[in-house]
Symmetry: C2
Subunit: 377 residues, 2 copies
Amino acid sequence: MRAVGMVVEFNPFHNGHTYYVHQAKAQTGAEVAVAVMSGNFTQRGEPTIVDKWARTRAALANGVDLVVELPIFYACQPAHRFAAGALRLLNELGVSAVAFGAEHPQWNFADLVRAATSFDTAALKQYNATYATQFNEQLAQQTGVSLKDPNDILAFAYTKAALANHYQFNLQAIQRVANDYHDQVITGTIASASAIRQALLTGHSYEQTVPAESRDSLAQVSQPPSWDALYPLLRNQLIQAPVDQLHQTYQMAEGLEYRLKDFAERSLDFDHFIHGIKTKRYTYAHLLRLCLYTTLQISEAELANQVDHPYLHILGFNRLGQAYLHQVKKQVTIPMFTKVGQGMKDHLCRLDYRAGKLYQTFTSVEQDLKHAPVIQR
Amino acid sequence: MRAVGMVVEFNPFHNGHTYYVHQAKAQTGAEVAVAVMSGNFTQRGEPTIVDKWARTRAALANGVDLVVELPIFYACQPAHRFAAGALRLLNELGVSAVAFGAEHPQWNFADLVRAATSFDTAALKQYNATYATQFNEQLAQQTGVSLKDPNDILAFAYTKAALANHYQFNLQAIQRVANDYHDQVITGTIASASAIRQALLTGHSYEQTVPAESRDSLAQVSQPPSWDALYPLLRNQLIQAPVDQLHQTYQMAEGLEYRLKDFAERSLDFDHFIHGIKTKRYTYAHLLRLCLYTTLQISEAELANQVDHPYLHILGFNRLGQAYLHQVKKQVTIPMFTKVGQGMKDHLCRLDYRAGKLYQTFTSVEQDLKHAPVIQR
């Protein structure tokens, strides 16, 4: 069996994802679709609209055969680290191809990566808005390509990670369908995840854009998860922890701890806080991730250690996915498991476990410890 | 002018307090009543029903002439430390007498203190229920007195602190009036603070038991402050902080950090948590205070430093109180101020400031920084 890998958030799983999964199989000729999916927090550092188990169920019911968690230390990172982490897991899983959406699938991303080699150190600091702008200007000068759409940026990052690590799988860019990321108006049965979340938030109809399994879990969301609800926890940490301890937080660079503490003391709601700390130097995504690291008290040292010890937490599978797991398990070189045990929660999986406890702000469901995988019959 | 000092929580200020203030003046012959009042957290480590400013306003409108904050590092402590801290401040303020309620004002507390000298090291561990029981048994054997009512226990602690420090003021025990601490049924115009809070919580009438100023502030309480609302902050700290850091928390003795972390992970509400961690060894009051220290991230070292650097934060006064302040200010040997400035919030008053930020869970009112004192005309 050959598998195609995908890196996904499914936040929530919608009809566009169903189309994309089938395209990925069709365009690569793979029999098995493997999704490496962010857990309960997105790349932007925000809580997902429904938990990872609900999203796994919807994915398995709609074309995905195997869902593996993208651990938070890869998932909540800028594009280049997010992509590198996800591809490392897909390579472990022995996929023959990796498919991803792109606004411009016709571009030769490998050529772009090679062209950017000379100035690509800047890309390592993509969270810094100034560097990102400089990088894009240089790339446009050299290649005529303007890398600014979110899926193109990720496509570039996947290609770069694959080339750098000499991964053997093929890369398959798939055209993004109508109603793209920026389009917030729902007109047909295909809408962006962002538009669907917005519709849910504002009480508009979105039901025609998602499969039944997503509809069911979304219907149970009374207060959509957001930083508004997590802010009291972030605020308390910023106020109560000494600045030298806050300084240890992953990505807390250049005296940001003073700025965050100051605005936390003065801001009673998240909106006031996040607009207060925003500067040209940092993107909102970078600051949201920093909010998450701070709330989870993740230090630079702890993150570095976890990044070096990845694992494959199997969230769910169907018969095909199970057979595929059986086929590849002997080649896997990192821990692979379907259940987080008592010892794992404090060691191997501790960041995901702690993120799951934070996510219990929104649900009483235990997110990790002894949670059985979703099995689609 | 001579002043009588009182150590109070006024949680909330009620008719019994009005009676008690007038008795204190009458029985000591003092012209001025000075209250050293806990800020926004009680001796038991719980948030007060209304903030310290509302309680100061009610006190000044009903017989108290000067209100000084009992800093949290004295206020949220077992009886002996609470009493010692409060009397240290009253001594600085040059009071001629200190009045306190007692269930048995006829007892000679000085004799009890002297009798207990031989076994009183146990009293230093009053939070430990086992030691407290042993202490009481020994005292009963030697003196025939059973020290078990809450105000008698405090009276003992005041007397002990006054004797140990050779304070010159008189100690005046005042008979507790009907409807004492344990009586939860409101029948007349006098009720215990506990009964009034309970009535507010359960939607029963309490209005006849409090003066107009308390009535007004209590009427604005929609969700009475409690640990239920603070629990998510405590839980997150217990889950996210490493055990070696939790171990640094003031009073986190004997591996309690493991027990607290374990129950925090498993408990989604405070009720489940606090009953889970309770053992015979520790009283609820001790555990509630430990919850507060943990949420405020107060370390052993930080608390020790603050205890050695007390101050007089004047919360409010009337003309008599102001004149009295003018009279004593030259003899005061510790910092005395009416407003917390920018530099003070991070140094001298940092624990009160941080407690005030935590109390903003219940109110948008800034509790310290640049807050003007209450002036009663």
